[in-house]
């Protein structure tokens, strides 16, 4: 990590993940895969199994209310949570959207608990840019 004084009185820090950047280029699909069509043997059961393998059921971490949620440097004032009730990430996202935070509607937020402040902090998974 390196630090230097920036020109507006801010302490500027560079966090050192630069060397951990990974470049991922999708390998070309094999010809056999690209041209594969479903055979008559691929019934609904086969399809269901394939779907299950592609998206295995995962157990979401749960967080028991009360907790704070931090977003844009603020602790959000939210309604809809019940004391003592555990909430999954999907349920927390739903409460956020119901409270007008529609920016979380079409993204996949993950929540991590900061025990020191009893605060959930948010990570947006798979945020994409392109041009």
């Amino acid at each position: 990590m390196t630090s230097q004084k920036a020109d507006v009185g801010q302490q500027l820090t560079l966090w050192g993940d630069a060397t951990e950047v990974k470049e991922v280029k999708a390998p070309p699909e094999p010809e056999s895969k690209r041209t594969k069509t479903r055979s008559k043997a691929d019934g609904p059961e086969t399809e269901a199994k394939a779907r299950q393998a592609a998206s295995p059921a995962t157990t979401q971490q749960q967080f028991t209310y009360p907790f704070n949620i931090r977003y844009a440097a603020e602790i959000l004032q939210l309604t809809g949570f019940v004391d003592g009730q555990p909430y999954t990430s999907d349920q927390i996202k739903e409460v956020l959207v119901q409270n007008g935070f529609t920016e979380f509607q079409d993204v996949q937020p993950d929540f991590h608990h900061n025990a020191a402040t009893n605060t959930l902090v948010i990570t947006i998974r798979g945020s994409r840019k392109g041009g």
Partner: protein, 133 residues
């Protein structure tokens, strides 16, 4: 509105140019701020190519017991040039965050900035967010 130092932005655009020259890919940098106003530039783990970049974005980072909040999300374009793409539009809808786009396709450095207000994008002028000298 928080101002980013010209020094910090220069480091970011130098990194963006280096990434394109060395790897022909886009790049992305996140800027965080703590309670005392210090800034941190963070280049997250990402997948990238000449036309896209993708990563997880932590809106708050806990580091050494301090909370650092995301204040800016900057990325580069090299093929498309200095304009927001539809993918950008779909992924830049967090209120309170400054979104920045850097391009040098046309032979000179171009920075564009904007914010999402919950309904639409508001363009932000360079001198509103960058402190020079």
């Amino acid at each position: 509105m928080v101002k980013i130092s010209g020094d910090a932005l220069w480091q970011v655009q130098a990194m963006f140019k280096a990434t394109y020259v060395e790897e022909q890919s886009e790049d992305r940098v996140l800027i965080y701020q703590n309670a005392t106003g210090d800034l941190a530039l963070y280049r997250p783990r990402m997948s990238r190519s000449v036309v896209h970049v993708e990563c997880d974005v932590q809106l708050t980072v806990i580091k050494d017991g301090q909370e650092w909040d995301l204040i800016a999300d900057l990325h580069s374009h090299h093929i498309m040039g200095g304009d927001w793409s539809p993918i950008d539009d779909a992924n830049e809808r967090l209120r309170g965050i400054l979104f920045g786009l850097f391009s040098w396709k046309e032979g000179h450095d171009v920075w564009l900035f904007r914010r999402w207000n919950g309904q639409t994008y508001e363009p932000v002028m360079y001198n509103e967010v960058v402190a020079i000298g």
